[in-house]
Amino acid sequence: MDQLLQHGLNALMLGGTYALLGIGLTLIFGIMKVVNFTHGELYAFGAYMMYALVMLLGVSFFVALPLAIALGVALGALLELVLLRRLRGADIDTTMLVMIGAWIALQNAEQLAWSGVAKSISTPFPAAPLVIGPVSVAWNRVFVLVVALILIGVTYLLINKTKLGRAMRATFQDRDTAALMGVRIGNIHTATFALGSGLAAAGGALLGPVFVAYPSMGDLAAAKAFAVVILGGLGSIPGATLGGFILALVEELGAGYVSSGYRDAMGFLLIIVILLFRPTGLFARKERVG
């Protein structure tokens, strides 16, 4: 029973991070129809910015976190303006190849800048874990979950309750009509990619201190983000959120009670099964086409 409780707690903590990774990706895909292969590198960028700010410049952890996210937003905006804006109207394969190229370039740039040696980022949280009866969890993981839930909530409100969000949704539903109604599609694309990038950087900035920062850290994060998005339904923020928690729970219980060797495989097996029955994922809606 204690083991089950520990798995449940672990899944809760892990699910928050998976959800955070997924919503940035789903947002960009949903609105821009761009499969963002740089998502993992933006995640790594967030972690490295935390390392630079906290460990090299001595900035307070709590100040460094929003700064790292802001830098992620800026990098995302730059990528959109330099790469994606020029590709508007290009076919899907061209865009995908350019994003794969950007992914490789960014990862190698990280290795060049920071070397291949993993970087540890210190946190202000106590080293002793939070102990609740028979289970325990690190304080920094609790912090990650809380901030992840706040960021997910803020993103949801931004999309659903603000003028910018309405413009984003209008672009998502019908780009041409949105443009005719006065929405500046170019700005919406930049804002969307910057927001999605900021969320990826937030994931890295939060998880870099939990784990370590290293150049290829984004690969696994991106794979998980893709899995979460496919599970939840492309373009659905609630879907990505719930998808993150479902994936984490399946991985935890699968590794704990079936085989740890198949931990990653179990999550993806679940996705394949779900896609067989619901090709759009758990939460994607049908589109209304004029």
Binding site: D2, Q3, Q6, H7, N10, M13, L14, F29, G30, K33, V35, I92, M96, V117, A118, S120, A127, P129, V131, S136, V137, A138, F211, V212, S216, M217, D219, L220, A223, F226, A227, I230, G233, L234, G235, E252, L253, A255, G256, S259, S260, G261, Y262, R263, D264, A265, F268, L269, I271, I272, L275, P279, T280, A284, R285, K286, E287, R288, V289, G290
Partner: protein
């Protein structure tokens, strides 16, 4: 008039691409589990053993000898490739070297956490075999993807097993995270890393206090150069490394290159010419005073096409209050 149609929100083409990504990852996980090395494309081959195995058929084809300085899998020297000359220990050798210490550590029940590849699985199997022979009970034997960063599920299972010792086989980055996460989950078992690739200096720097109390099997002890078989060479190497301002954490890996290059140079000198067949023949007779110890080769594998295997030294060190101490 607007017409409602049940088209999917995303083009099917995109979903197909994403399915492909998920599918590739899924099958990569499956293939890694059953020990098939995948090369090229997106799919990474994370450890040395798989790379060596990929090169081996080419050695046979081009008849070129190869010196192996990082691999631990027994397969490398037992598959009948006479061009392989390995100076690093196999997992079996490492387990045998540790065997006399089982009593000293008073190990009654042991758990395992290893990477899901030849390096990790091979070490896990060899250490389990050795421990069983000594009457030690085996608890949880868990594995992990070489790129994984979260081990919470495995550690929860290991914690529940109640073993007194946890053997970990992986690279230093994952070992760092395992030490930290084991502390978070209050895993009480003593942690011993195997494979020689977990630099204690890097662990101290990255894992901090979580590294205290952990033990590590290493093939060179730069902190105590007097403890190795050829202390003068070890001191010279450490001095040169320090003078060049390389990171101290690299010493436990860097020595492999030194030993390897000196072995090759000795073979070329003995051969008198830089030709593959002559070097291969000369390699069998080299006697090199290396940092790890005296390097010489014994035969392993099927008769008539044996590979060459060195019998290296293995040491156990402990991290105590942020310092590496002799065990």
């Amino acid at each position: 008039m607007t017409e409602s149609r049940t088209t999917m929100r995303a083009p099917e083409k995109w979903i197909a691409v994403l399915r492909m990504v998920v599918g590739a990852w899924f099958f990569k996980s499956i293939f890694t589990k059953i020990g098939i090395g995948l090369l090229g494309g997106f799919i990474p081959v994370p450890v040395a053993t798989a790379r060596w195995q990929a090169v081996m058929p080419k050695l046979m084809e081009y008849q070129v000898p190869m010196l192996v300085e990082t691999s631990s899998s027994g397969k490398i020297t037992t598959s009948g490739n006479p061009y392989i000359f390995r100076i690093s220990p196999t997992s079996e050798m490492e387990a045998k070297a540790f065997a006399p210490m089982v009593k000293k550590f008073n190990i009654k029940k042991a758990d395992f956490l290893a990477t899901n590849n030849d390096f990790g699985l091979g070490a896990s199997q060899e250490f389990q075999k050795m421990l069983k022979e000594q009457g030690v009970q085996i608890g949880a034997a868990e594995t992990m993807d070489p790129k994984a960063t979260d081990f919470s599920a495995q550690l929860a299972k290991i914690k529940a097993s109640g073993a007194d010792t946890l053997f970990v086989t992986t690279a230093v980055e994952q070992a760092t995270l395992i030490l930290r996460q084991a502390k978070e989950q209050q895993v009480k078992a003593r942690i011993i890393t195997t494979g020689g690739s977990v630099s204690p200096d890097q662990l101290i720097a990255q894992a901090g206090a979580a590294a205290d109390g952990s033990y590590h099997l290493v093939f060179f002890t730069p902190w105590f150069p007097d403890a190795v078989k050829n202390p003068d060479i070890a001191k010279k190497f450490v001095g040169e490394w320090t003078a060049r301002k390389y990171e101290a954490g690299g010493l436990t890996e860097g020595f492999r290159g030194w030993d390897g290059i000196h072995t090759i140079v000795a073979a070329i000198k003995a051969a008198g010419k830089a030709e593959p067949a002559a070097i291969q023949k000369a390699m069998w007779n080299v006697k090199v005073k290396g940092i790890n110890g005296d390097i010489a080769f014994i035969k392993q594998g099927p008769a008539g096409k044996e590979s060459a295997q060195n019998v290296p030294s293995v040491y156990v060190v402990r991290i105590d209050n942020g310092k590496v101490v002799r065990n």
